[in-house]
């Protein structure tokens, strides 16, 4: 029969930056399957490795380059209620979030390579770090000195 003009090739379908990572939120209420289903249609990104000093405005400017942002939620230290180096960026359209994964993930903000990952959706409480000291878990145990993330890790301090 006639060739379908819509057909494509698998090598051209490759979209690795948009794929799910291995990370799954352990606090997610629901099955793995539920979580993955939500991740695959999510418009929300988790953004990590931010400096504690990076502002909502900077995040808005950078992530606005892939589309209209619905909301930015800054990650906070559970105790101090100050920025602790991560945030959520929610877009109106999935396609805009995908472009952020393709073109903003792995580039710099405030001179730091930031990392984005799919998030199943913001729920109250998820804006707080889960480390014992109130910040993120990764800042509890790291050994290096990072001026943008409070200096040494908490256990070192």
């Amino acid at each position: 029969g006639a060739m379908s003009s819509g057909g494509t090739l698998s090598i051209l379908r490759s979209d690795s930056y948009v794929e799910l990572s291995q990370y799954r939120d352990q606090h997610f209420r629901g099955t793995r399957y539920d979580q993955e289903r939500l991740l695959r249609k999510s418009c929300t990104l988790y953004v990590g490795n931010l400096s504690f000093y990076t502002t909502e405005e900077q995040i808005h400017e950078l992530f606005g380059k892939s589309g209209d942002i619905k909301k930015v939620i800054m990650g906070l230290d559970k105790v101090k209620k100050t920025a602790c180096g991560f945030c959520f960026v929610e877009y109106y359209a999935r396609g805009d979030a995908e472009n952020a994964m393709r073109y903003i993930n792995g580039t710099r903000l405030d001179d730091r390579i930031i990392r984005t990952d799919w998030d199943a959706g913001f729920k109250e409480g998820r804006q707080y770090g889960r480390g014992r000291s109130g910040g993120q878990v990764r800042d509890e145990y790291r050994q290096d000195y990072d001026a943008g993330r409070g200096g040494y890790g908490k256990t070192v301090q």
């Binding site: 006639a2 405005e57 393709r102 073109y103 903003i104």
Partner: protein
């Protein structure tokens, strides 16, 4: 004798898993073999092709249709590897004549289908593939010439858009680098005739649209040529060089002895499908050039602008980006491994092609941020050479800012600031000190100011002060702090000052909307005399006091401001109920946040989305005299285009809802029709339809109202542009001064930008625009923009 436990049919239990996965596994394997031929192999491409031809020939009896499909798709979607696959088809044809014939037929079917559904870019690839098959002895040259004769004769059609004839001409001309030599050798008289017909078409076609698509208005150092003119010059030069073309890699040359033994097929006579109302042809283009051989004096010579090599290189690089735009690392690697690396200054070609796309008018083929990240990946892969080329390019673009189209300058600003933010903002700013002595409205200082503002948005104010030399402070952005007019004791004589204090305390004490209303009741109305007697009055002072105070209290961050808008939404809606109210709210927002354009933009966005203001109010505000001072600033146009986009998305969303509801109703009917053929109870069926039909009616009204609002928005914008530009033109004429000030250039190009950026929507309004706004009485400067726009799809 062992009993075979996994037999197929004999035990009546087909093993589904093996059955259903096998065909697609084979298809995947075949696709992979074909798509990756020659990759990661120690043997030569030629021996890989020979091997693959053998494998496919053996697979033909069982998998012919799959192989046909894959090869057709590859021809359509991997044009950068055109000659690899024409060689493969050539080898297969030599081994199996019938297969060759079937492939050609399948290609023709695919070509017809592409043309039917307006896939013209892919159709060009198919035509080129067919023409290269002549070189592989699959298609007989005379039949290819005959097809091209039919293409060129489209230029004789009457009452068809020029863009239709353009496409057929382009499909013919752009195949000649591959097959010109062979066709000329076999059919020189016919080819001469075709070329002379081409020449006369190109001479008579209109080029009114060209200025609108040029990145620079100047012709030096490189003319910005219309794409068909450039291609024609390249083909003429190729002909003069007796069709000798040395850049294209032709694997089939190694197989000449095998291929020339093959029997050729004749292309069936091809009639170009007629023009229909639904036909949408590609828009004309202007060829972007920024480099020539003088820019890399130590490297290999860059092919000239009218050489066919230049055309082929650029086509292939564009195709690579098109194939791999989603995978930035692969894209960068593929670009850098383009063959001929040591014979051409590849880095220069790559940078030029990327900027060509970034600056393309009306719009880049891909999202702007992709190009920034792609360039960063390229810098990572070639750290010793590419950053220097990029710096050189940046310098050249800066030097030519005076004649660069405003829309392209926007993109340059966005790219450069984002790029710098990935490299600690390191740049030799002193090299650009020349701009400090110029009027701040001139393109160069303006560019630097906007870049620094964008850099600040990606970092913070003090950082920018630190990275530029002290002499650049005049171009540094303002500290983005809020201006609260009731802030100081010294302002206590201002009307509304005490109410502002009251409000501040109330809001800090978590007052409700009602409490706010009662506080505001005491605010006098300076417009008391203009009371329209209907009881409702627009009270600018109320708006001023409320909005100033609230925004000041919420100034800490975007989130604080958004919460404030949400919490006091009721107050906002009431104060901004009238058109004047909306306008005044916007004015006050500006007064408070004029040092922080980014904040203004996000507040306007939020206010539109929560319907505190509407799109028309924003448009009127942008053209208001209060904003005249900021009229040429980048952020203003970002706000306007964002507003238009929101309007467009809104219309699309409701339209989609309507279509979905209609589809639901149709499904419901279908279900009912198939369910109860014997049930004649009409009353029950009406009852079922009722709510859906009501919904459809409501949505229909909503769509019409949204479309009307959308049209009105564009009319308002065009009207205001015309007023503003006419004023300027009249003033210049009566004063005897030159029309072409920096402001004028910016303004007229902003008008062009509206047309270009939203051309699909605006096409719907052509009649209204022609009869109502862009009439013959208009100044010819303004009318020219409209005429150029009309010429784009004419």
């Amino acid at each position: 004798m062992s009993r075979r436990r996994h037999s197929d049919d004999s035990d009546g239990q087909p093993h589904k898993r093996r059955r259903t996965s096998e065909p697609s596994e084979i298809e995947e394997r075949l696709e992979s073999l074909i798509c990756r031929v020659g990759e990661k192999s120690n043997s030569s491409l030629e021996s890989n092709l020979e091997g693959l031809a053998g494998v496919l020939e053996a697979d033909l009896p069982n998998y012919k249709s799959k192989i046909l499909r894959i090869l057709c798709t590859v021809a359509r979607l991997l044009p950068e590897k055109l000659t690899v696959y024409t060689t493969l088809v050539g080898l297969l044809n030599a081994r199996n004549y019938n297969f060759g014939g079937e492939f050609v037929e399948a290609m023709i079917r695919q070509l017809k289908e592409c043309l039917k559904v307006n896939m013209y870019n892919e159709a060009v690839h198919l035509v080129r593939f067919l023409s290269d098959l002549v070189n592989c002895h699959v298609i007989a040259a005379p039949s290819m010439v005959a097809m091209f004769e039919n293409f060129v004769s489209v230029t004789q059609e009457e009452d068809v858009p020029q863009v239709r004839c353009d496409w057929y001409m382009f499909a013919f001309l752009s195949s000649l680098p591959w097959v010109g030599k062979e066709l000329y050798e076999k059919k020189d008289a016919e080819m001469d005739r075709l070329l002379s017909q081409t020449e006369s078409y190109l001479k008579r076609r209109q080029k009114i649209h060209v200025p609108m698509l040029q990145v620079w208005t100047a012709d030096k150092p490189h003319p910005q040529e219309e794409y068909l003119d450039c291609l024609w010059s390249q083909i003429q030069k190729l002909k003069k060089d007796r069709w000798q073309e040395r850049h294209i890699l032709r694997p089939y040359l190694a197989f000449d002895s095998v291929l020339c033994e093959a029997l050729q097929h004749n292309l069936p006579p091809f009639t170009p499908p007629p023009h229909t109302e639904d036909s949408v042809y590609p828009m004309p283009r202007v060829i972007f050039r920024m480099f020539d051989y003088t820019d890399d004096p130590e490297g290999p010579v860059m092919p000239g602008s009218h050489s066919v090599e230049r055309f082929v290189i650029e086509e292939n690089l564009h195709c690579i980006i098109k194939s791999h735009w989603k995978e930035r690392k692969t894209c960068a690697a593929q670009l850098l491994s383009y063959p001929g690396n040591n014979k051409i200054p590849l880095n220069y070609h790559i940078v030029e092609v990327i900027f060509a796309e970034l600056f393309q008018l009306p719009s880049p083929p891909h999202i702007e941020v992709m190009y920034t990240t792609l360039l960063i990946e390229l810098c990572k892969l070639q750290p010793g050479s590419l950053p220097q080329v990029l710096a050189q390019a940046t310098e050249m673009l800066y030097m030519r800012l005076d004649t660069m189209n405003t829309t392209c300058v926007d993109r340059f600003i966005n790219w450069f600031s984002h790029h710098l933010s990935n490299f600690q903002f390191r740049w030799s700013w002193e090299d650009w000190s020349d701009c400090l002595t110029q009027d701040l409205e001139k393109p160069k200082p303006k560019f630097v100011r906007e870049v620094l503002e964008k850099c600040m948005r990606l970092s913070y104010h003090q950082r920018i002060i630190d990275i530029v030399p002290a002499s650049f402070s005049v171009l540094s952005p303002a500290n983005p702090v809020c201006i609260y007019k009731y802030g100081d004791e010294s302002n206590r004589s201002l009307p509304g000052y005490t109410v502002a204090l009251c409000l501040t305390i109330a809001i800090k004490n978590k007052a409700s909307n009602d409490e706010i209303f009662s506080i505001l009741k005491d605010v006098p109305n300076p417009n008391q005399d203009d009371d329209d007697g209907e009881g409702f009055t627009f009270n600018p002072l109320k708006i001023e006091v409320f909005v100033q105070t609230l925004l000041h209290l919420a100034a800490k961050s975007f989130s604080h401001s958004f919460s404030a808008l949400a919490k006091f939404h009721e107050v906002f809606k009431t104060l901004a109920e009238s058109d004047e109210g909306k306008l005044h709210v916007l004015r006050v927002v500006y007064e408070v946040w004029k040092n922080h354009p980014q904040m203004i933009a996000v507040l306007v966005d939020k206010m539109i989305r929560t319907q505190i203001v509407d799109c028309a109010a924003v448009a009127n505000w942008i053209f208001s005299s209060e904003l005249a001072h900021d009229f040429t600033r980048f952020y203003i146009w970002e706000i306007l285009h964002s507003t238009i986009r929101k309007m467009n998305k809104h219309v699309l969303k409701i339209h989609k809802e309507l279509e979905e509801t209609k589809a639901r109703l149709a499904r419901q009917h279908k279900r009912r029709d198939s369910d109860d053929d014997d049930d004649d109870d009409d009353r029950s069926t009406d009852r079922e339809d009722g709510p859906l039909e009501e919904q459809i009616e409501r949505l229909q009204e909503k769509v019409e109202s949204a479309q009307s609002e959308q049209k009105n928005l564009f009319l308002v914008i065009f009207q205001r542009f015309i007023m503003l530009l006419t004023e300027h033109l009249v003033r210049c004429e009566t004063g005897g001064i030159d029309v072409f000030t920096p402001w004028y250039k910016s303004c007229i190009e902003r008008l062009q930008q509206i047309f270009l950026q939203h051309h699909q929507i605006i096409q719907q309004y052509m009649v209204t625009l022609e009869n109502l706004l862009f009439t013959a009485e208009l100044d010819h400067h303004i009318l020219a923009v409209f005429q150029q726009f009309c010429a784009l799809q004419a």
